[in-house]
């Protein structure tokens, strides 16, 4: 392909546009590093000196490490279990779509995409409380369920594009369906697994509504929920609040900076399918 000359007009417009994206983050960092006394000065001015004590105070007040651990455990378990269970059921569906049962199953799952969460929210809260699942374990199960519709939809589409001849060769060798799934199909699904894993991780890490309604023990609180719980205590101290927001966003930002090409690449792939 021949190299065309750079369009500097569009480049500059996009660069100016990034100010809109980065500005709230700049403000967050700036205020997180100031003292309450400095809040009287113009908000955009840089801090007189960087006050890292805000972060230590925020960590202590909001019990940051516990919330971080909760968020991490939930996200990790949800991603692993989602990829395993959802790809497995999608494989069974994709290879048996000609049978009524599996076709019905497909539509059963996919139609749930249109069910708004509030309709199941009220009964679900009661149900998880009665079943002793108003905790992190319940949260993990629910995240797996709520992504299933979308995941089955994209997995089934992808598996159908995998030639069945690859499996027939393995059948000749006497491999069982389970073995075929693990040895042949699951590795071929890697790109889709990555897409599903990323979207699931972002969802489970950042979600606020489900922890808000399901969790009853404050020590189970995830990072977004913690910000909500401490909102009333922050109200008098913006510096502490912003230090806490920044801490809560930081793990995902770090992962993003390290892996942004991989993340965007896989989200894009999911979109083309």
């Amino acid at each position: 392909m021949k190299k065309k000359k750079t369009n500097w007009l569009i480049t500059s417009l996009l660069l100016i546009g990034t100010l809109l994206i980065l500005f709230p983050l700049y403000l967050t960092i700036n205020i997180a590093l100031k003292t309450p006394q400095e809040m009287g000065e113009p908000l955009l001015s840089l801090p007189n000196e960087w006050r890292f004590q805000n972060f230590l105070d925020a960590i202590e007040l909001t019990n940051f490490y516990s919330a971080f651990l909760n968020s991490f455990i939930v996200t990790f378990c949800v991603v692993v279990l989602t990829v395993l269970t959802n790809s497995l059921v999608s494989y069974a569906i994709a290879r048996n779509m000609h049978k009524g049962f599996y076709k019905a199953l497909f539509y059963y799952f996919v139609s749930a995409m249109f069910v708004p969460f509030p309709i199941i929210m009220l009964p679900l809260v009661r149900q998880t409380a009665v079943w002793n699942m108003d905790n992190l374990v319940g949260l993990i199960f629910l995240y797996i369920v709520f992504q299933l519709s979308f995941n089955v939809f994209i997995y089934v589409g992808y598996i159908k594009s995998i030639p069945i001849e690859l499996e027939e060769a393995a059948v000749m060798d006497g491999a069982s369906s389970w073995k075929i799934f693990w040895k042949v199909i699951f590795p071929l699904l890697s790109p889709m697994n990555a897409t599903v894993a990323i979207l699931t991780a972002l969802y489970a890490w950042n979600d606020f509504l489900l922890p808000l309604v399901i969790l009853t023990d404050p020590s189970d609180a995830t990072l977004p929920l913690t910000q909500y719980i401490f909102q009333s205590e922050f109200s008098t101290n913006y510096n502490l609040a912003f230090a806490s927001y920044l801490l809560a966003m930081l793990p995902m930002i770090i992962v993003y900076i390290v892996a942004q090409r991989w993340i965007i690449g896989n989200v894009t792939r999911g979109a083309v399918k």
């Binding site: 269970t85 199953l105 249109f114 929210m121 069982s176 910000q227 995902m252 965007i264």
Partner: protein, 287 residues
């Protein structure tokens, strides 16, 4: 052959079981309770369709539907305009393409609730201070404090956050447009405007539909934005359907009544989705 079929059946069991217990079963319960006067505790009786009739007479519910649709439609349109523009920009011959793409996708990885808290600060403290500093007194009030304009604040924050994901979807679509099509068109002397509408847009049209559907659906469910920015206020002016069901159902002792509201909401979403799917299928036939 028999064992193969049994294996396939077993593969579906974990997902089916979980899905039924944590999705279908609560859904059925929700529909069931919508015909009762249950408050979330204590005794209850069947009340037939009276909850449903009452939702239609409930000004607070009407206001929630009005706000939610106004917010969702305006945000969907704005998000699609901005993300298409950004995607077109990112897809042209620019410098720093990878870094720019990474920055524009950044809002998508952040928690909506936390972004909402940051914007709440921007609207209540930063913008008024800035407006006073540069002497624009008209803007020196907090937009979130005005019953007529608070929804605009919610739209701004929602659009800021949502453009990221839709941009990536459009970018994926634009990358499926073959480069030689453009070269042929530029030789024919087609101007960029014409090129976009005659060539690019028809090719990325499926992405346009998907984006409209996804954005509208997620904005109709708006919850985190509201909790972080306004809590539904001032008054009930920015109370969305999700927030109404949440606060009425859990705090207002209206479990049965809000279940009926949720069923209506469900029917509205299904009707919209069927309508949108029709359009999607029409496209697929054309391809």
């Amino acid at each position: 052959m028999q064992s193969k079929q049994r294996a396939f059946l077993f593969m579906t069991i974990p997902a089916v079981l979980l899905f039924f217990l944590f999705h279908t079963y609560p859904l059925l319960q929700g529909v069931f309770y919508s015909f009762t006067n249950w408050r979330g505790y204590g005794d209850w009786n069947f009340v037939g369709f009276s909850n449903y009739f009452n939702v239609f007479k409930d000004m607070r519910a009407w206001s929630a539907y009005g706000f939610t649709f106004q917010f969702a439609i305006v945000s969907t349109i704005l998000v699609n305009i901005f993300s298409l523009l950004v995607a077109l920009g990112l897809n042209s011959n620019i410098k720093f393409q990878k870094s720019l793409r990474a920055i524009y996708f950044l809002p998508n990885i952040l928690s909506i609730l936390i972004v909402g808290f940051i914007f709440q600060f921007i609207f209540t403290l930063f913008l008024p201070q800035l407006a006073e500093l540069i002497g624009v007194t008209a803007l020196s009030t907090n937009i979130l404090g005005s019953p007529d304009h608070a929804w605009i604040g919610v739209v701004i924050m929602a659009v800021w956050q949502a453009v990221a994901f839709n941009t990536i979807l459009y970018l994926a679509g634009l990358q499926t447009v073959p480069a030689d099509v453009y070269e042929a068109a530029s030789i024919d002397g087609a101007n960029p405007w014409k090129r976009f509408w005659k060539i690019t847009f028809p090719i990325i049209a499926p992405f346009f539909t998907i984006n409209m559907v996804l954005a509208l659906k997620s904005f109709l469910m708006v919850f985190d934005h509201i909790i972080a920015l306004t809590g539904g206020g001032p008054g009930y002016s920015t109370e969305s359907i999700s927030v109404l069901i949440y606060s009425g159902g859990f705090e207002g002792g209206q479990f049965g009544y809000q279940s009926a509201n949720a069923v209506i909401y469900f029917i509205v979403i299904v009707a919209l989705s069927v309508f949108q799917l029709r359009i999607l299928q029409k496209r697929e036939v054309q391809q």
